[in-house]
């Protein structure tokens, strides 16, 4: 058997090169996923040292989850995400617009970029622990407020719903606004300068330019940021977990879905944890699909809507 010299078939190398990825994915993601889905239909938990199950119970886990506090935790997750996301996107848009606007002559751009991105790299658990000690009743923040005479007695930030939620939101804001700013900046710099020049000739002021040119132009990136942030929000765990010691205090108002999952896993309640995972899987699956469409589409939807909006504005 003489190998055909003219045409060597390289395709086996392709398979070989992508093999480790798929083997690893198969073992560490796919098998666990199937296992998770399977046990979601079983009664399977540990009570004391006794293991109950696994007994097949159909959809019972799913139904009892709907009756439990899961929806409340979903609501908490959403509230915590919104508190962090709205200031994040507003500030990020402003900063991105300013950084690329040469006429503003921002000094030390590089320095500011380095500083605002810094919190993103800090270990979320250490950051949360730091906030916990700083905002505790005898922590430095209260001691500063007291010595400035802004408050008569120490404020119990972590004892109130608003306080805890705001702290989680503040941390998420600080951790992510730098990242978003840099992403949006790249998007704005990608807009053709001709468009801005034309707008300038037409006598567009900076506010009009921002709302009618920049925003519609970076719409795809904005949508992408939004979706990835929602997925990140869905996974919110470290910050509230450490801040409230896994309790979601006060009265479980800062308990997120993943914290709920974590507590089921810790207590080895596999059936319930499985059903909860499947709910999360479905939601994130839908979001994944949206992201997939956006990253694989040369002309992501949104541009049409933007064009329509611009048209409407012109008419109005």
């Amino acid at each position: 058997m003489k190998p055909k010299n003219k045409k060597i078939d390289y395709s086996k190398w392709g398979y070989l090169f992508i093999l480790p990825f798929f083997v690893s994915f198969f073992i560490f993601s796919l098998i666990p996923l199937v296992d998770t889905i399977r046990y979601s239909f079983f009664e399977y938990y540990r009570s004391g040292i006794k293991e109950i199950g696994p007994n097949f119970i159909g959809l019972e886990n799913y139904i009892s989850l709907l009756g439990s506090d899961m929806l409340k935790y979903a609501g908490n997750t959403m509230i915590l995400w919104i508190i962090g996301f709205i200031p994040q996107i507003v500030i990020a848009l402003l900063l991105a617009e300013w950084f690329v606007d040469a006429r503003l002559k921002i000094h030390g751009t590089q320095f500011f970029k380095v500083v605002i991105y810094l919190p993103n790299l800090i270990m979320a658990s250490a950051f949360a622990m730091l906030f916990f000690t700083m905002f505790s009743t005898n922590g430095p923040i209260n001691s500063i407020l007291l010595s400035m005479g802004l408050t008569g007695k120490p404020i119990d930030f972590l004892g109130s719903v608003l306080g805890t939620r705001s702290l989680v939101g503040l941390m998420n804001f600080l951790m992510w606004f730098g990242n978003t700013t840099i992403m949006l900046m790249a998007a704005i710099m990608g807009i053709s300068p001709d468009v801005f020049e034309a707008a300038e000739l037409d006598g567009c002021n900076s506010v009009q330019r921002f709302f009618f040119i920049t925003l519609p132009q970076i719409r795809p990136i904005l949508a992408y940021t939004l979706i990835t942030s929602i997925i990140g929000g869905l996974q919110m765990f470290d910050v509230p977990q450490i801040l409230t010691n896994g309790q979601g205090t006060p009265d479980r108002t800062s308990m997120t879905l993943i914290m709920f999952l974590n507590s089921h896993l810790k207590s080895k309640n596999y059936g319930m944890a499985g059903a909860l995972s499947v709910y999360l899987f479905v939601v994130s699956g839908i979001l994944c699909f949206v992201v997939y469409r956006m990253t694989n589409n040369d002309d992501p939807d949104g541009s049409k809507a933007a064009a329509k909006k611009a048209k409407k504005q012109r008419r109005g």
Binding site: G14, A186, I221
Partner: protein, 281 residues
């Protein structure tokens, strides 16, 4: 000249807001640093803006604390996350190259599949993962934190985009004509070309897994295998009011200093890297 004035005002406003935001970002680290240099008794008296001279003593206390083996934790973290970063970037490059340079039947399907799982949260498979790890006898060991990083869709996507922009197929063909084996071509020619991308992703993987808490917290049980985030969490869980506060601040400081150092040296690449792949991790 008329249009210069509003710009001037906006410029001032922009600088003020930027300074406030930077202040917010740095303020917490400043407090952390100050408090880590003061003794417990000092801290009880209230906040002071000036550092004390207690840092070395605090560091010694942290190092000698058997219940919270912080330095052991840092060592564990370094082992796990150094390995993860190396494995993850190498195999992601390999996968990206495999899909980029070769034509085969399942190529399109494989690519679509990876893109579909791009942003899938690891948490949804956590339950099965935990059971699998237990059944494989890897519970309470560092291996399950390292090996799964072979399959990192986000890093793969980054590498793939990078290859598309910077690796001409003619180069590979030239190597083939010179008689270089496929594997050798990858290691000797493709990897050096991908160095910038690998550097950026190695940093991100390192930072990401250094800060990772969810999976390690499920898998690791014994004290001497704990990574830094778990130690911080146990610190929070303990009856912390009885602790030496100076020590607690020092522990947090020790936990985040390595990353800050890495960042200060590499901030230029990190910031450039954020937008390159366009993928948040």
């Amino acid at each position: 000249m008329k249009s210069k004035n509003p710009n001037h005002l906006r410029s001032i406003f922009a600088h003020v807001l930027l300074i406030i935001l930077s202040f917010m970002c740095l303020f917490f680290f400043y407090i952390l640093f100050i408090n880590a240099t003061r003794s417990h008794a000092d801290l009880q008296k209230g906040f002071s803006a000036l550092p004390g001279g207690y840092l070395l003593q605090n560091l010694k206390n942290v190092a000698n604390d058997g219940t919270f083996p912080m330095f052991r934790g840092i060592l564990n973290s370094l082992i796990v996350f150094g390995c993860s970063a190396a494995i993850c970037t190498y195999f992601s490059s390999l996968t990206a190259y495999g899909l980029y340079a070769y034509n085969f039947k399942l190529k399109k399907a494989a690519f679509t599949f990876i893109m579909a799982i791009l942003v899938m949260p690891t948490q949804v498979t956590a339950m099965g993962f935990l059971r699998l790890v237990t059944n494989m006898g890897m519970y309470d060991s560092l291996l399950p934190l390292i090996i799964p990083s072979i399959a990192s869709p986000a890093v793969f996507y980054f590498m793939y985009s990078y290859l598309q922009s910077s690796l001409p197929m003619s180069l590979i063909e030239a190597a083939r004509i010179d008689g270089s084996g496929e594997f050798k071509t990858f290691n000797r020619i493709v990897i050096p070309i991908m160095k910038p991308a690998i550097a950026v992703q190695a940093i991100f993987t390192f930072v990401g897994s250094w800060n990772n808490y969810f999976v390690p917290a499920l898998v690791i049980q014994s004290k001497d295998k704990m990574t830094v985030p778990i130690l911080i969490a146990t610190l929070r869980g303990a009856d912390y009011m009885n602790f030496d506060m100076g020590k607690i601040y020092t522990m947090i400081l020790v936990a985040i200093v390595p990353i800050i150092l890495v960042y200060l040296f590499l901030s230029k690449y990190i910031i450039a890297g954020v937008t390159l792949g366009g993928v948040k991790e």
